[in-house]
């Protein structure tokens, strides 16, 4: 299903009764993955949705990664109405790493392993219909002591 978002938005605004609907129903994940900066990736994903730091996200990621090729990441939360969880590694060439779409039949609790090119802030973004909640942490990636 390919909808021209601008056209759709235009028609909704024209109807004048769309004030209750979020401005972006369709996140542009393809564009977000291509983005080379976290800011652009966030914009592509979440548009103008308000974003706020939250202590209600359990974000587990190591302080010092054993190896940048395999960094374990876990995100879970009891926040209501979670639609998706996104992981971003700010300093990666393409910061967007993965996005998990949580249906009402699933629980907002995922784990995976990501590649990090170098030390970076890593973010967990939890999306609900009217807000994006964020938790972030600095993860150090180092050269091995034995020379690699």
């Amino acid at each position: 299903m390919n909808i021209n978002r601008r056209k759709w938005l235009g028609s909704m605004l024209a109807l004048g009764g769309a004030a209750l609907l979020p401005m972006r129903l369709f996140a542009d994940t393809a564009a977000a993955f291509k983005a080379t900066s976290a800011d652009v990736a966030l914009k592509e994903l979440f548009g103008d949705l308000p974003m706020e730091e939250s202590s209600e996200i359990n974000f587990k990621v190591p302080d010092i990664a054993e190896n940048g090729a395999v960094v374990p990441v876990s995100v879970s939360t009891d926040i209501e109405g979670v639609q998706s969880i996104t992981i971003m590694v700010d300093e990666n060439p393409n910061p967007m790493s993965a996005s998990f779409n949580i249906s009402p039949d699933a629980i907002a609790d995922i784990s995976t392993r990501v590649k990090m090119g170098k030390s970076s802030k890593v973010r967990a973004l939890v999306r609900t219909p009217d807000k994006v909640y964020v938790a972030s942490q600095e993860v150090k990636v180092t050269i091995g002591g034995c020379g690699g």
Binding site: P62, D63, I64, A65, E66, N67, A69, V70, P72, S74, S111, R113, K140, T142, I143, G144, G145, C146, G147, G148
Partner: protein
């Protein structure tokens, strides 16, 4: 002739102040050479007991994860579903594939749980025999070409066999007789001889500085280093053998490395295995 232990020799080589008193082995062996593996092993165990007072000796089978909290947490996360399982699966498939003559690995090794038998010193052949050698000998016996010692196939086979052998206790027979003692001593000497541009001996890092930080990581003890091979190294993004790691480590100190399954590395493996007698096999494992 009074014989110094490896610790004594290592400290002499490094010329540093003794961190622990170095017990001298009494000449209990019945040869004139004064080589005393039992005393060496006890001295090494005593050293690590003192160096890591809160770590039970058997725990060193997990390397730095025995004492580095941050690394241990990540290791436990990886153990939840470790990447080496894929290599074990692939190894199982290879293990079950018959040779052209209709026979297969099970005819040589049964269910594959034989890692506890290797390495051992073969008096008749006059050399240390490793699992990798035995695999290629099985192949030769059935008219199959040998596998490259650090190729993907042999590493997957050993991953499967290591997994099948988990829990077996390392029990290398006490080196007795000239040949075995010579192989043991060759391994021990290699281990405590400085080499390369960085002029490190294995013992420099893994005895003298065991537990210390080297940039962002900590150095593991020699005790337990042979229990868990082949290893899935995140750096390699693949499983690799103990000898590959020896080779890599020698290169990293700027020394000429030896090929996998060379006599030098087989003797080194033999020495290190005897040192780890009593520890449990727990391969394959993940490491950074």
């Amino acid at each position: 002739m009074v014989r110094t232990t490896i610790l004594g020799a290592g400290l002499l080589l490094l010329g540093s102040v003794a961190l622990v008193s170095a017990p001298l082995a009494s000449d209990t062996s019945d040869t004139n050479s004064g080589i005393d593996p039992q005393a060496d092993r006890q001295a090494l165990r005593d050293f690590y007991s003192q160096r890591f007072p809160d770590v039970p000796l058997e725990e060193h089978k997990n390397g730095v994860y025995a004492f580095d909290e941050g690394a241990r947490e990540q290791w436990l996360e990886m153990e939840d579903f470790p990447p080496y399982e894929i290599a074990v699966d692939e190894g199982a498939e290879l293990y079950e594939m018959p040779f052209a003559d209709g026979q297969g690995y099970p005819d040589c090794f049964g269910d594959g749980a034989v890692k506890g038998r290797y390495p051992h010193y073969d008096d008749v052949r006059g050399e240390v025999v490793t699992l990798e050698m035995a695999i290629n000998e099985c192949r030769a016996d059935h008219g199959e070409a040998p596998l490259a010692y650090d190729g993907a196939a042999i590493t997957r086979l050993t991953a499967y066999m290591a997994y099948a052998s988990r829990g077996q206790i390392i029990d290398v027979a006490l080196p007795e007789g000239e040949g075995a003692l010579a192989a043991y001593e060759s391994g021990r000497r290699f281990y405590s001889t400085r080499r390369g541009q960085l002029n490190f001996a294995c013992s420099s890092c893994h005895v003298q500085l065991a537990g210390n930080r080297l940039r962002a990581e900590r150095l593991s003890a020699s005790l337990g280093q042979v229990t868990h091979w082949p290893v899935y190294r995140f750096k390699w993004q693949d499983v690799g053998s103990l000898h590959l790691r020896f080779n890599e480590c020698n290169s990293q100190v700027g020394a000429e490395p030896f090929p996998p399954q060379s006599e030098e590395y087989r003797n080194l493996e033999y020495f290190l295995s005897y040192m780890s007698n009593g520890l449990e096999l727990n391969g394959p494992a993940s490491r950074k």
